[in-house]
């Protein structure tokens, strides 16, 4: 971990208009939770649907996509990454720092709002709120590693990430059970499922499988990002 790289990355992420982008969705989730609570429609069934559909299936992948690609892709595109790469810093330190920043951002703008929304909706009923919080946290870590790697590997990281999150996980997951199992979202849900007694939370992936896959995706994503950053070619002007 390198505090200077972390400082620059935080300032780049939070200083621009992107910060508003980061805030929009979580505020919407909180507003929705408050609205449901006030109208008294916050039963366990509906609360679970909100946390699952809005929290794990939408807020988490989108925020992780913005944070995970945002900590590296713009710097690579604009060439500022040269100022970090021309220092005697091991490349794994750069990647781990960027990943840590992405995870902190996902925690602040996705996991924490989901936790608050859960509290507003159900309080601590059947441990649904802490279960989703933990599920989103581990899912957020895996997503971040995946999208940081994508940002180093491809100049079209955001597009590819969106296609994965929207087309693969959301659309294909509804038709093909196989696709559903190969999805960070389902693994995160599996963790949440294991931590709550509520029968409203159901996952298609067994917990041990989910944990192993989450760890694998995180480790492989991080390693891949390090390897690719080591031989990152800066596009020639010519």
């Amino acid at each position: 971990m390198n505090p200077t790289i972390a400082m620059i990355t935080f300032r780049a992420m939070l200083g621009r208009r992107r910060a508003l982008l980061l805030l929009g969705l979580p505020l919407l989730l909180l507003a929705l939770a408050a609205g449901l609570r006030m109208t008294g429609t916050n039963d366990l069934e509906i609360s679970t649907v909100v946390l699952q559909r809005f929290g794990i299936a939408t807020l988490l992948p989108l925020l992780a996509l913005i944070a995970g690609t945002g900590v590296l892709a713009p710097e690579i595109d604009d060439g500022q990454i040269m100022y970090v790469l021309t220092k005697p810093i091991p490349r794994q330190v750069i990647v781990l720092t960027k990943l840590a920043v992405a995870i902190v951002l996902v925690t602040l703008f996705a996991v924490l709002p989901a936790f608050l929304a859960g509290l507003v909706l159900t309080g601590m009923t059947a441990q649904v709120t802490p279960a989703f919080t933990v599920g989103m946290l581990v899912g957020g870590i895996a997503y971040s590693a995946l999208f940081v790697a994508l940002a180093v590997i491809s100049r079209n990281a955001v597009t590819i990430g969106l296609l994965y999150a929207l087309v693969w996980e959301t659309l294909l997951g509804n038709f093909a059970p196989g696709a559903k199992s190969a999805s960070v979202q389902q693994w995160a849900l599996s963790v949440a499922d294991a931590l709550t007694d509520a029968s409203t939370v159901r996952s298609t992936v067994d917990l041990p499988v989910a944990l192993v896959l989450l760890a694998l995706v995180t480790a492989i994503g991080t390693a891949l990002a390090v390897v690719r950053l080591r031989s990152l070619s800066v596009a020639s002007a010519e």
Partner: protein, 303 residues
Amino acid sequence: MSTMQLANVSRWYGNVVAVNGVTMDIGPGVTGLLGPNGAGKSTLIHMMGGFLAPSSGTVTLDGAQVWQNPDVYRTLGLVPERESAYDFLTGRQFILAMAKLHKLPDPGAAAQRAIDRVEMEYAADRTIGNYSKGMKQRIKMASALVHDPAMLLLDEPFNGMDPRQRLQLMDLIRQMAAEGRTILFSSHILEEVERLASHIEVIVAGRHAASGDFREIRRLMTDRPHRFLVRSGDDRALAAAIIADGSARSVNLTPKGVEIEATDFQRFTWLLPQVAKQSGVRLWEVAPSDESLESVFSYLVER
């Protein structure tokens, strides 16, 4: 004192060869990397800076491989051509961050030294996004200097600078070379290179076309056959007079005027008005037809 060695370095993108078998040693002092736009200067500098793997050959700094070896940046400083720095930081924050990334013992003092060196103290607390082109160039220079490197690579450092900023930067580069640093900068402008570099490497179409003292290169460039297009009151009579004089290699009568290839540039420019006067021909226009840098370079390659 540092030396960078390129041994038979090539780089290709698919079927396109950007740099072709370049071998050179860059030692202390100022070396100018001269070549027309698109010649492969940036590709070469990117390989020297460790940002691009050579497709074949090796680039080493004091014997250490540059590619995939972040440790070389302890002795290497790099000023990239692209303008973007971290625009949201102030100049001082940026340089301090660079000093910290180098893990210097006293980053604050090192940053201050670098800022003073490029004379940016007056603007150090403004954000880089509000800097002019010349100021950005200088703060980038400070970022490359902050760890006091033995070798500096500058990619087109004078691009977009006004004449005063250009002079300041030239002074700075001269000072640093006088301290024993190895400095390489790229440019497509002969005059810039001539004023600053004691040693010149010429790159044309990816090839190492010439190498040496600037006087030598200058002579190579002026001693080539020069082509002129001359329009006059009586092209036919003028052509006959020039042929009779024998100072031209070839004379060609075209509908646009007389095309003359002179072997000796100096002698020809001195002779032409006299020949015209003696034969009573009025000169309307004398235009060099191949003075573009590209044609000078292509002459060097053909040699």
